[in-house]
Symmetry: C2
Subunit: 412 residues, 2 copies
């Protein structure tokens, strides 16, 4: 039995993801697949457009055999920790033998040797990053430059720097670094991303559009506008979720609670929260008074400087919203890795994988999370409850769905 | 120059309040009036139906000369502290020589001697209260019984107990106790409340209805239904506020932020907040899972026991919403009294009072609060901002209106 691991957000699952999934199974030759899916909040610091359950359902409908949740502690983090959490989970299943991810180049030729050099994070690398941050660079730029300099042997520094300016190369590099650190036998593969840049907002191909473009169509037009870019199952699930008042969820859905928290927190309280660094607590408090509109979008615009990426600021707002303090997201805590494997759904073959995992898994496998205590799990349940609290039609059972409902089974 | 003090909520100001105001000026013979008005949150732990500014405007339209804000630290408290805060503010103006309040009986004959006995809160009284609380009584019942026993000389214990079961007698008693404690020269007067019991939900007289009944008409019917019970100025102000998206505000307006806070706070965090006592933090967390609807009303119903009054629970939810911790609401802090006199509005005569207060006031008089630092003021500004955040049409200028706008002047 062989299984390929995928680390995904599926926000929502579109034709580009189906292409990736199909190619991943082809090039790895894997019989089965395991998807690590971010919970309600995503890497760029945004809520999913629909719940983690609905997105897991999309993955199962596409053919994924087992969907497990990336804890919010890793899901809403810079590439390093996001990648580490996802790879550590796949590694911990004991049933995944390959990992396949998309990159802009579709090649690991440069990334693989560099990842080996960077896996032992040297004080020198940290020092270079700090220097670039002090020069006023934002973190991704500082990391890319420091990594390129540290690893740029044989004249490849400039080439590497250019690569790392593409977000999927950076993510890919960190998947590879995580595999090294975990001394994992999982073999990495990459597939070139096709026809849609990561940040593209407009569809550029007849059947493939970026998730960003798809969300824009869903939010500003309707399901029909996005239909050409989505598998029929995604359309059906989105349509049902929207109709039943469980979406679409956007940052503006959280306007009320977010503003309330910012208005009722002192700068000192904000400063205790994860990612609220370098005086951003004061910048936040000051920004509120000057907003033209009390929207999350206006707040983000007011906070933006060259120093902070939009993504960093969105992640910070997510941590404020979910009240993640610095201690529970410290590097020491994160380095310990995820503490459990939370199952969101499975196919019949996935059920077989779960049976195997009773022997192979290095972490507790949670089919229902009620019976298990873990600080990261607390945060996952909190995130899911807070997410469902802003549904157009809020419903207590949805807020606590993790407790009330078994994972999704798709046996067809 | 003589001025009568009134301690009010005006939620909204109705014909019964006009009657009280007119009678208060008659029986005291005062030329002027000073109203201490609760800010956005009220004594029974509810938000005002419209903002403190709109309610101050109603008071000025009726004829009040000076409207000052009762800090949220006192406004959302049991009768003792509510009364103490209000009386201390009137006393601190140095221009108020009488205080007039409504009672069920319209007589101070029994309350005055009892208040003298209770003014020096004895350990014995505290001990009796504790005993009754341990017997399972709620606080108001325990206080009434202990006070009646402590002060019930000459066979008046039963009579006193019956009196204190009426909420305005209890409030009146605490006004009198506060006057004693402050050694204030302000003379107390009372007026019988007419035609509408405090808790009556249905109008029982052609022009007088309780504020509760008026709010019910406003929320379930419309302005026209409530019109017979409201002065024209109140109608005009309510109509404008509703039309411009600044109301009506109810507990359900805060559903989103309140649930978000409860969902993202641990029981330990909740336990640090004011009024979250005796394991209510666990009761709160457990109640959430079992709610049929994620509404404030359903939550209050789930929390209710004989031990806790609806009012106590609503106040607790207000303190959770506004994140008031136990330290900032401790008896030692509250006993120090309000730290400033925040002016919400004034008439031409009120402007004269303010001029006099430059010499007579025992506390800083704040016409604009931006120039002053005080922990209670922080909480007032926070409460007003959080209040405006849930307007049907939220607006940053309204959230920070305390900073942006001068007090209301009504010079006619």
């Amino acid at each position: 039995m062989s299984a390929v691991g995928l680390i995904v957000e599926y926000n929502p699952l579109h034709n580009g993801h189906v292409h990736h999934y199909t190619r991943a199974k082809e090039i790895t030759g894997a019989e089965h697949s395991v998807a690590v899916l971010s919970g309600p909040f995503l890497q760029r610091g945004e809520p999913g457009i629909v719940s983690k359950f609905a997105r897991a359902e999309m993955a199962l409908a596409m053919g994924a055999d087992l969907v497990i949740e990336l804890p919010v502690s890793y899901a809403v983090q810079p590439a390093e920790w996001f990648a580490y959490g996802g790879v550590a989970l796949l590694h911990a299943t004991g049933v995944v033998d390959s990992l396949c991810f998309g990159t802009e180049s579709g090649s690991l030729d440069l990334l693989l040797p560099v990842s080996r050099l960077l896996a032992d994070e040297s004080p020198e690398l940290q020092e270079r990053i700090s220097i670039h941050l002090r020069e006023g660079m934002n973190y991704p730029a500082a990391y890319s430059r420091a990594a390129a300099a540290a690893a740029g042997i044989g004249g490849s520094e400039e080439e590497l720097l250019q690569m790392l300016q593409k977000p999927n190369h950076t993510l890919g590099l960190h998947y590879l670094i995580a595999l090294h650190r975990l001394k994992s036998a999982i073999r990495p593969f990459t597939i070139p991303r096709i026809h849609a840049g990561y940040h593209d907002e407009m569809p550029s191909h007849s059947a493939i559009a970026s998730a960003t473009a798809v969300r824009r169509m869903l939010l500003t037009q309707d399901l029909d506008a996005a239909a050409p870019y989505l598998p029929e199952s995604t359309l059906r699930i989105l349509s049902r979720e929207f109709r039943e008042g469980r979406g679409p969820v956007t940052w503006e859905s959280f306007r009320g609670p977010l503003m309330h928290l910012l208005l009722t927190s002192s700068a000192q309280e904000l400063e205790t929260l994860h990612e609220v660094t370098e005086g951003l607590e004061n910048r936040l408090k000051r920004a509120l008074y000057a907003l033209k509109q009390p929207t999350t979008e206006a707040l983000l615009a007011a906070l933006k400087t060259k120093r902070y990426t939009h993504t960093k600021l969105q992640r910070m707002l997510t941590h404020i919203l979910l009240r993640h303090n610095k201690a529970e997201m410290s590097p020491a805590i994160l380095a310990a890795g995820p503490g459990y494997i939370r199952v969101l759904g499975f196919s019949r073959a996935g059920q077989g994988l779960l049976k195997t995992m009773k022997k192979t898994a290095a972490l507790p496998v949670l089919v229902k999370p009620t019976s298990f205590d873990h600080p990261q799990l607390e945060l996952d349940l909190r995130a899911s409850a807070a997410y469902a609290n802003v549904y157009p039609a809020p419903d207590v059972r949805q807020m606590f769905r993790d407790y009330f409902e078994a994972p999704i089974r798709r046996f067809d």
